[in-house]
């Protein structure tokens, strides 16, 4: 172990982020309305992006940065498209 502090702090952080994703998943499955589900999916995208950044620190590789950036991009596009669909009933008018 070359990093005595990080080698126990990072798995704890990964566990907390996984628990956060489970909370979002419960809201996604339970959410009474459609906008609740879209909000929970957006929150899951954010948590997954943070998970990717923490994994990048854990493995010491900067390749995870591109994955996190792509997740952020798809989160924006997907959530905006779904919110537009909820607002108008169609995505492209």
């Amino acid at each position: 172990m070359t990093h005595p502090v990080l080698s126990w702090a990072l798995p704890i952080a990964l566990g907390m982020l996984a628990l956060a994703m489970i909370c979002c998943l419960l809201r996604l499955l339970k959410g009474p309305t459609a906008q609740d589900r879209v909000l929970a999916l957006d929150c899951m995208y954010l948590n997954g992006m943070l998970l990717m950044l923490v994994l990048g620190i854990l493995y010491g590789s900067s390749n995870y940065f591109e994955a996190a950036l792509l997740i952020a991009l798809f989160s924006f596009v997907g959530s905006t498209a779904m919110a537009k669909f909820l607002l108008r009933g169609e995505v492209i008018e």
Partner: protein, 122 residues
């Protein structure tokens, strides 16, 4: 764990920032799960996009800068993009929810500003 050994205070800073960000992410997701109405719930994930994202971003660039890849500020791109994109998404979602609540005839939402014909506009 891989990479070269670092000074202990750098590790403590990175670990504290990562734990703070993960804790805030957990707090925001618990808020999303536990709050009662949609208009309360829509505020909860915002702390993930601000404080949680910025904490983990700072931890990432401190770690990669100390590991010797130069000043690794490319992680700032993610935080800046999230800071731009998440308010836009949230405003869209809130307007959609308000529109659908007015369309459903709920009277606990404020009426539309542009006239009494509520439900026709967003």
């Amino acid at each position: 764990m891989s990479g070269q050994p670092m000074a202990l205070w750098v590790e403590i800073i990175v670990a504290a920032l990562v734990l703070l960000g993960a804790g805030i992410a957990l707090l925001g997701s618990l808020g999303l799960l536990r709050l009662r109405t949609y208009f309360e719930r829509v505020h909860a994930p915002s702390i993930i996009a601000t404080m949680g994202c910025w904490s983990i971003m700072h931890a990432t660039w401190v770690y990669f800068s100390v590991q010797g890849h130069g000043l690794a500020v490319h992680v700032l791109l993610i935080a800046l993009f999230v800071a731009i994109a998440v308010p836009v998404t949230n405003i869209f979602l809130m307007r959609a929810a308000l529109f659908r609540a007015r369309r459903a005839g709920r009277d606990d939402v404020p009426p539309s500003l542009s006239g009494p014909s509520s439900g026709k506009d967003s």
